[in-house]
Symmetry: C2
Subunit: 453 residues, 2 copies
């Protein structure tokens, strides 16, 4: 199977590394580690159980430690930072770019943060403060300050001479130079490829591209990611409310946003955080997950209370107890499909006032059709199993009610959560199954109490 061989390839490095970790020498291990990129080391650290992780961490070169710390998840970063000496933390922070340093410094203990700030020159400190003044999840928090700017009346020739003097100091992922006026207001951008292919006597102002406007510093990182994805950008300028150029965002940071955003939906639906460490200590994991189980217990007890209302009915006809989980689970499954579709569409920004109503109608229709289909099948099974036609009719009716309820709940819960200012993905599943359990038991046992027993 293709899926299988793909995985195998991905795992090769991890497996090789595990082997060296178990039986190789320290030199072999260090040689292997030093050949990796920071993000690759971070990926390995995330895959390792705690004690091996600490051992490997000691072997990572100090200049790489800062970048690796930024690439591991929050859980592991906190853990490693707690174990590092102050001097090691200061050294790690010195190798970082300003946007990364801005993320990193907020995780440091206060005393270390002061030391890092003191070790910086005033220009760098000023840049750092500029990035820190924006929220982490905005364009301003995502940007770096390493822009190369030119003036509109510069000729290509002048720009080329300027670049040649800089001797390879062009920052990574630079595909455009930004054109600014004397007040540093953003005017447009010039692709590097234009510098290579156009007449050297041309002025920057005549060939600059003004189509790509500056990204406002307060734009959400999610919107920045959408912009990069839709317009196939490698980098883009960030400006303040007066259109003054503040910095630039590069695609590597945007990919992290896309990855985290997508994982957020998956993990939130199970009440987990995307920053969770797979090998977090047992007690810490237990505590976090206990909260989610507690929330579920309350909803499960609510369902039990509903069943309890019909205790006498069940005593008379035990088939009700046998069949009631079927009604609840079919509603839950149908509802969770609708819920997943709506949560994904919301994460992609594809649901608004204009189409939410249409989507609800469509999902209700699907719920109704599948309700009728499965009601017939389950009714037939019930009649054959318990030799009771009335019971078959009642479970069929309950199935239809519950599948429609599931569709309605699945489509509206995330929209309501968002309107309340909550995360649409978080808790949606627990609320949904509460509703389908309660309605399922109520419909099935209620109808039975009325017409059957």
């Amino acid at each position: 199977m293709p899926e299988n061989t793909q995985e195998e390839q991905t795992l090769t490095r991890l497996q090789q590394f595990s082997k060296v970790l178990q039986s190789g020498t320290l030199q072999q291990l260090q040689l292997m580690l030093n050949g990796l990129f920071a993000a690759e080391i971070a990926h390995l650290l995330e895959s390792l159980p705690r004690e091996k992780r600490e051992f490997v961490w000691e072997l990572v070169e100090p200049e790489l430690q800062g970048d690796v710390l930024l690439d591991v998840n929050d859980d592991i970063r906190e853990h490693l930072i707690r174990q590092m000496e102050t001097s090691e933390l200061v050294a790690a922070s010195e190798s970082l770019e300003v946007d990364d340093l801005a993320d990193f410094i907020q995780d440091l203990p206060d005393t270390v943060m002061q030391l890092v700030l003191q070790s910086m020159d005033s220009q760098d400190r000023h840049r750092l403060e500029r990035v820190l003044s924006y929220e982490e999840d905005t364009a301003g928090g995502l940007m770096n300050t390493d822009t190369i700017t030119v003036r509109p009346n510069n000729t290509i020739d002048v720009v080329l001479r300027y670049l040649r003097r800089s001797r390879g100091k062009i920052p990574a992922m630079t595909d455009h130079l930004y054109v600014v006026d004397r007040n540093n207001k953003y005017l447009g951008q010039v692709p590097l490829t234009d510098l290579l292919t156009r007449e050297p006597s041309l002025r920057v102002g005549d060939l600059m591209n003004t189509e790509q406007e500056g990204i406002p510093a307060d734009m959400s990182d999610k919107d920045v990611a959408t912009l990069f994805e839709h317009r196939e950008l490698v980098s883009a300028p960030v400006v303040d409310e007066d259109n003054v150029l503040l910095g630039r965002i590069t695609i590597d940071d945007v990919i992290d946003v896309i990855r985290e955003d997508a994982e957020h939906s998956l993990m939130s639906m199970a009440g987990l955080s995307e920053e969770e460490d797979m090998f977090a200590p047992v007690v810490a994991s237990t505590r976090r997950r206990a909260l989610w189980l507690g929330a579920n217990l309350i909803t499960a007890l609510l369902a039990s209370w509903v069943i309890g209302l019909f205790g006498a009915t069940i005593e008379k006809l035990v088939a009700l107890a046998i069949l009631m989980p079927v009604v609840a689970s079919m509603g839950g499954i149908a509802g969770s499909q609708t819920l997943t579709i709506v949560i994904r569409a919301m994460a992609l920004g594809q649901i608004g006032v204009g189409n939410a109503g249409r989507l609800i109608v469509k999902e209700l229709s699907v719920g109704m059709l599948n309700g009728v289909l499965w009601a017939v099948i389950i009714a037939i099974i019930t009649v054959l199993w318990f030799d009771n036609v009335q019971l078959g009719v009642i479970i069929g009716a309950a199935i239809i009610v519950n599948l429609i309820t599931g569709a309605l709940a699945g489509a509206t819960i995330p929209l309501l959560l968002k309107r309340l200012g909550a995360d649409p993905a978080l808790g949606g599943g627990v609320v949904l199954t509460t509703i389908t359990d309660v309605v399922g038991f109520l419909a099935f046992l209620g109808l039975a109490a009325l017409f059957l027993v």
Copy 2:
């Protein structure tokens, strides 16, 4: 709330568009559409109900239609292609790059495919055939053939003169030129920034970067994405088994892979496809989802059968029927948390022979601790509710058994599915809840039958 305002921003364009669609003139609509990028139009089309979608599609300029078709999901692409004339399809395919054309052409009816192939010149047809000879989900299927190559003995000066003659025809996302020998074997790459900053008299062979090896054409797209992410690449060369340069992969195509991969886990867990159209026709949606509901019904009936084994016990003590969903649901929730963590880690390639055992042990420990914690709480609630100490002890024991079962099932099901060559995310949830339902009912009702009734 920040989440809220972010969404609002994302939606603005969609809402503006909806407004124009409802009340604006055709000219306004066309003006608005023509100002958008292909991916933005695709995003809008995905957000629109079917009949509005068809109406808007008619307004998209023919030169853009090819790119838009590539960006919408499979469902919508098929639907739109079915509605297009042969001549429109040929026109749409003419505006595409080779890698995109290779994806597109496979969705076309045979007759149209022949027409498209006939309309190409032999060089382009040869390039297309090269891309088509690799699976869609490999580096070869992802690559484009628009590389710029230079020879090691060229000086920078010669390269610059060559580029200047090409007059802006450097393909988008070109950040490196590739160095090849006379047999087109890949030797290394030269960053564009080096051309701008280094001495014009230097030879390409002396300054080329040989660290980035060529990506083998049969590498899986998932591994390509990991490589781009970890090494912060904008583009990378693709080679065959003899190291002959075949083409290059660019970050925009890699982002699509990352996005689809992440959505795949989310959608698969609910038995959905990431290519599903939110506004698919009701009957088509109903049919697809019916399969998943059918699978769930079989598992639900299995659980019912288990309950049926204890019908006599329930008749004697109806509290068992009232409480049994609590046991099943706590196990299901605990298990689905473990399942989600394992599926994410597997999608990231972070689970292998070296750490799977450790992860199972950790999850079992968390399941055991939470089992004991919630067993005590649920036992106390049961004793207070039903005034029956034995029942409290029995439900506590069943909770512990079922939370451990949930952890074990959640950790091992995706690993087993993968070993069987199946998608680890698909169906994991249904199998898991079957196990936690069956074990939960069996433990609770079985213990009650043995010790209580």
